[in-house]
Symmetry: D2
Subunit: 351 residues, 4 copies
């Protein structure tokens, strides 16, 4: 397809749901050669053994998991490492990988919060690598593509934050909403909780179940408020309630915000079109057009609709994405594409 | 169980989901003799034929659907009629049934809105029986049990409204929240949309799907705001977004409201305990304890949790109910019990 | 309801799905006083804490789990003990409880297989209490009610076996089918695998998944073949494939068997009516009428349909039950009723 | 990717589930230019309007549905037509399209049965175009690739038949199983029933439901037995029971067949490897390795596992596929690739 050599890529923590989604995307990415996958628990097994979905696909039969180890990873020739590791663990690897000359795209929360004190406040532990925070770039490709393209260390955003930040940023930047009025309810699929043996995530516990959790202070508030504050050029504090729902993947977010300065639905539409009209993965559905998660699952799209309620003076912003794709691994690959000088959509066009 | 003769009961529109749920409850209700079920589409078939779940249960094999007709209903000796009919249709039967001496419990929206103009505004048609609005009682048994007990015509509340009104009423009455600050997101199971052949409700359309609808002005706003306004003794206008989720039954509601007068979580708890401490079907889960719909399905319980977010000064109120039970048929039976002088929990204790 | 004192009952292993279902049924059973629930992991917590569904129901707020201990159980005054424990563990308690004068209804596999060698062959361990096998009664209430009524120790059947044995027994006894021709495929809900933290049972692993397991020799074959052999008065060996499906509860079984001696669908119907016409929990749907699990969930019914394929000379027998009710806890309570001289349907009439 | 001009393709009946899946695949197929989509009900609307999943993808915004009409289809320049129409309707278009010089790939049952009397027997109507039966090729690409490559008219197999025929054909051809002993139970997702407004397919009717249907004589028996008979070189009659399960897509098939001539699991494995070792879409999982539908959804793979039960002398064959992909649209595109001289996997490599 092209003359350029594919980039050699490693995935650390490839046996979880975000890791598996990275594998799925990268196995079909023509600019990538997957050379290394790590997992403490699955070490020695092939990709195809651990994920039967990948049987018969490319090198899934031959590439085996190794225990995460910097020297072993280096010896694979990997040029870029995706970290699909728990927060706290990811930061422990990032510095060594950077020192070894790899670029790092971290899907954990470790480098999303620029202020180590806020990290400690929300994550309950001292930041494991504060010296790297300055150079880490919060990787929303729609917002800061140039910074991502130039970065060595990208902190890829969380699933909820992506669904909340993208609809709100242009409106805050354009002064269309009152920053103090933002109130969010987000529903997520159960894959967002990870592939861990936890009785509360059993099928029989999640089926026919709708339940809020982490009320009133979910950890993702820290990165949401950081990014909204940058856009609003003032401190923004919001309300946020996550709900666990019986879907495997998908995030459906509803945001209320009061109109500011007499802005109406048309202003919201214009602002969003200005911001995202050329973005290949943001689909603007229009006024009074709620998105549906089933239209974005397994894709890197985020669909956004909006409405203005003249009875209350509030806007309703609605977004839908796949928590594992635009909310995690797809977005990370989008950043990888920018960092590698590839078209932003490489490997991400599957339906 | 008792010497009293059971009350003879008719269900109009018994072939839909609310109707079937009434049948389920009333077949096991010792104070009830089900004497009549009507359905235009299922006329002539037995309850057991239409609902195989009821095969072998009591008179389900022998009681057959009839076409709704006042004379035919009267001739069954029915003393109370439940109307599980579409709005607009229910009102057409209510007057004749009342004239024939029956008491009427209407599960449609027709008699919930005391102001015929508001009804017309939200339901898009002139009210079909405005002369009955004065005597209709909005049937929230926790709020006005005496009026229900004395009523001839009860308008049983909607599923969303029950989940929104019950948590909010005491707080508004006690002045703990700002009436202008109320913003609600409610998730519902698909049975709430009724048992109608609609392609958008197919399994393949609802599974792995989360989607808002009727944004920004769902019809249920009319009854919610009516009841909140009574409690607040002023006009209350709120934001409300309903979300269709892939569960058969269940409503999960999240409400934001700003604290008023320095009220905290303890004040909210006290207010709710005062209001519902003796209510058999309201379970107060406590602070920072989100409810889960799977704990209330097939029961008449509504579970309520709450939290105070000191960062924003807002309360988060969370409720869970079964849309077909506490949100429809169970609540209607609860009103029936009050109207019949039976214990409020008769027929509603099943788990 | 009655003058008789309720029977004092203990549930050992009440924190799993079968145990919780026993709690649900027995909390509403007028002939039962639940005096003891045991669980190693939940010791000290109340029923309502562990199962929020039971909040506000009877003594669920006040009855707390204790560590399983014979003396402690005896001191509660329990007269009957239900064992909802893993196989191998249940047998360890049964003898001591019997010695202490309690009757025992065991929901595990430990006393289902009368031949200790067959048990060892299928369960991979020596039988832990072979001296009790002689008096244990395989507790299918439709088949041997008198033996159950007189028993001290009942081995309540497994979920798959109930769905396979009940349709086949009369046909084998009446010589209508060839005993060598029986081939079964059974689908089960995930609650059948128990409430254990196992990654393969996560919602995200079971949703949109259909998969066979334990092929070709599932443990339940041992009890199925034992009971079929008794009916056929010869050794019966069958094929059986279980399939895990994305429902919380329900078993749907399809059985093929060749017609013997020219028997047709009418003979099958007659045989089943003779066997089960008076059984309150067996519903015979008729020829060419497949059952649907959603009509039996949360009930103790088993629905049976059948067909004769004249092209192949084979019968198709189809059954549906709730794996946790007729397939486990409901059936155990049915045996309890017989042992206690209560109506067979006591506590089991809920819809 | 290549210098060759893409083939111009029309899809008739593109608004159903098979049609939408064809659209999904063909929008990403580099050898295809989609020039025409027809639908009576959606005429005039764009692909993106009818299927919001396709918004922003290629020509989905600009290509609009037209009413099916031969002249209109011809004028689009279409060279190949996929028919995703109901049986009976498809045959009415096939002849005219062939006459107009198009190749036709029919996803309906109309040309699958070579004997018009068998068609009439199973489909209850005279065959609408018997003169075309001789040249129609039953389009299983793994079995007769050369005939498909040379065909003008391909009858693409049904979803159940594909899952049953592929595992059995080599074993029958190699004489490893008794042709009279075949008994099948197949579970399907609800999308297999089509995108029609039918109350029995509502989410609330299918969720928590497992139910057999069309017992004992489903229409797909006709094509299954036709193909098995060819392989066995004798008339084969089988038992087949389909089960509707609460997944959107997926077929899970379990087949019993008696070993013939002392064949064991190793012989089955060898036979399948000989038949499918080079087939890109058949994945042989090995002995005692049941497939899982979640590993094949959205792909064109069929996964096959097998077991030998020495207790009964029977084999258990197990297959899993996506009913809409390998069971319908993917397989049709696989035939298209062969007919067009393209690599068999073109457009079908997505995960």
């Amino acid at each position: 397809m092209s003359d350029v050599n594919p980039t050699k890529v490693a995935i650390l923590g490839a046996s979880g749901y975000s890791g598996a989604e990275l594998v799925r995307i990268l196995l079909g990415h023509e600019g990538v050669e997957l050379v290394c996958v790590t997992s403490r628990s699955e070490s020695g097994r092939s990709l195809a053994d651990v994920f039967p979905r990948f049987r018969g696909v490319g090198l899934a039969e031959t590439l085996s998991f190794i225990t995460p180890d910097i020297e072993a990873i280096k010896s694979t020739g990997a040029e870029v490492a995706f970290l699909a590791l728990p927060h706290g663990v990811a930061a422990g690897f990032a510095g060594s990988l950077l020192d070894a000359g790899l670029k790092v795209i971290d899907l954990s929360a470790d480098f999303r919060i620029s202020d180590a004190k806020v990290y400690e406040d929300f994550y309950g532990q001292a930041h494991p690598a504060p010296q790297l925070l300055d150079e880490a770039v919060y990787g929303l490709p729609e917002i800061r593509p140039e910074q991502i393209a130039a970065a060595r260390l990208v902190a890829s955003p969380g699933c909820y934050p992506t669904s909340v930040i993208l609809p709100l940023l242009p409106l805050l930047a354009d002064g269309l909403i009152d920053p103090e009025s933002i109130q969010v309810v987000s529903m997520s699929g159960t894959s967002g909780a990870g592939r861990k043996a936890d009785a509360s995530l059993l099928f029989a516990e999640c089926n026919e179940s709708l339940r809020a959790y982490s009320v009133p202070r979910h950890r993702h508030l820290s990165e949401i408020e950081q990014e909204l504050s940058i856009a609003a050029t003032r401190k923004v504090i919001i309300s946020f309630t996550p709900i666990l729902t019986p879907v495997t993947s998908g995030i459906c977010t509803t945001i209320y915000a009061s109109s500011s300065g007499g802005a109406g639905a048309g202003d919201v539409g214009s602002s969003l079109v200005r911001a995202y009209g050329d973005s290949p993965f943001v689909r603007l559905l229009g006024e009074n057009s709620p998105p549906d998660t089933k239209n974005v699952t397994h894709t890197n799209f985020i669909d956004i609709g909006w409405a203005h309620d003249c009875r209350t003076g509030r806007f309703v912003l609605m977004s839908a994405e796949d928590n594992l794709v635009k909310g995690a691994s797809g977005q990370a690959v989008q950043s990888f594409n920018l960092m590698s000088g590839l078209p932003e959509t490489s490997g991400l066009t599957g339906l």
